[in-house]
């Protein structure tokens, strides 16, 4: 087995499994808010900068970006066992929960009150996610070029609803070339 790059705090497989279990079970709306809160704010496993880096990598590759983030974080601290623990914690519980919900739905159908509660929860979840994005923007250097690409990505995907692949495919090469000589 190749050597594992141990960086930062010493984190075990068990802690990885438990952390991602907690993240996923708190995740109403989007897990990204809870992942950032746990990894950056609570446990201090990653700095804001490292979180954005790993998320960028996860977004670039196929698969759900938070699951990719889990795999990267798990691997970073405890090798393949850590990656497995992170993915198992992150996917295992929702796997059981959705099947339970499917079975309940088959038996009882949808309850209007539950539907209403979920609408309110989703509205809050959207606010939480926006807050995380605002905090993450603090890592950007104070140079207009960096902000320009952030604004363009937001406008293309968020406002105009163009396909993600198209927007990233067009912006990424330009952004890499434009910021080539900059310092981090």
């Amino acid at each position: 087995m190749p050597q594992v790059e141990l960086q930062g705090p010493n984190v075990g497989v068990r802690a990885i499994f438990l952390t991602f279990s907690r993240v996923t079970l708190s995740s109403f709306g989007s897990p990204l808010f809870w992942a950032r809160r746990a990894l950056v704010e609570r446990q201090h496993w990653l700095t804001e900068r490292e979180f954005v880096d790993l998320l960028a990598l996860g977004q670039l590759l196929p698969g759900p970006n938070v699951l990719n983030l889990a795999a990267l974080v798990g691997y970073r601290f405890a090798g393949w066992a850590g990656a497995l623990a992170a993915c198992a914690g992150f996917m295992g519980w929702p796997f059981l929960v959705v099947i339970a919900m499917g079975a309940l739905h088959q038996r009882y159908g949808a309850l209007p009150l539950v539907q209403q509660a979920l609408t309110g929860m989703a509205a809050v979840a959207a606010g939480l996610l926006l807050a995380s994005g605002i905090k993450m923007a603090a890592v950007l250097p104070r140079q207009w070029r960096h902000w320009l690409f952030g604004v363009l990505a937001f406008t293309g995907v968020g406002v105009l609803r163009w396909p993600l692949l198209l927007v990233v495919g067009a912006l990424a090469p330009c952004a890499i070339v434009a910021t080539w000589k900059d310092k981090d």
Partner: protein
């Protein structure tokens, strides 16, 4: 439905996982075509319900693939679709992550990282924006979103309480 169905599901979702560049939503229509129109394993109504249930369950939104597998072939089907669709992507991610960790100062890697950071943050805000737009029906919903945004930035309160308050507001018919 037995083992042949589970194997067919596994193989098909494995193929889909390699086509899902740019995220799983890009293969959603193809997935529906396969299980609903080609094989009649479930109705389009059941497919839509599976999708809706997974959106409200805790965890990542992709869990509808688990429900689709479960609907078609029980526990074996659920495991087949989930593992086939997510396993290869996660493995590839770790392999690329290893390269990334091994050469942290390669100039190409650094340039890519620097260029992608603002785009990543822009996409992050996009998904939050789209979520806000799809869940909120009128100004009261947006007000709740704004309130949650301000409170989570300005107070040390556990956000789960905010979510719970949102649930109560919803049940009371405020949003």
């Amino acid at each position: 439905m037995g083992l042949p169905t589970i194997v067919a599901l596994f193989l098909y979702f494995l193929v889909l996982s390699f086509l899902a560049i740019g995220g799983l939503p890009t293969v959603l229509p193809e997935m529906q075509r396969y299980v609903v129109e080609v094989h009649h394993w479930m109705t389009s109504q059941q497919f839509a319900t599976a999708y809706a249930l997974a959106q409200v369950a805790p965890g990542p939104n992709v869990m509808y693939i688990t429900l689709v597998g479960w609907q078609v072939a029980g526990w074996g089907g659920a495991a087949a679709t989930t593992l086939a669709l997510l396993g290869p992507a996660s493995t590839l991610t770790v392999l690329v992550g290893r390269l990334h960790a091994r050469y942290p100062n390669a100039s190409l890697g650094r340039a890519i990282r620097r260029g992608l950071t603002p785009i990543t943050i822009g996409l992050f805000l996009s998904s939050a924006w789209i979520l806000a737009g799809s869940v909120n029906r009128d100004w009261r919903g947006y007000l709740l979103t704004l309130l949650a945004l301000v409170l989570v930035l300005r107070t040390p309160w556990n956000p789960l309480w905010l979510i719970a308050a949102g649930a109560l507001a919803g049940m009371a018919g405020l949003v």
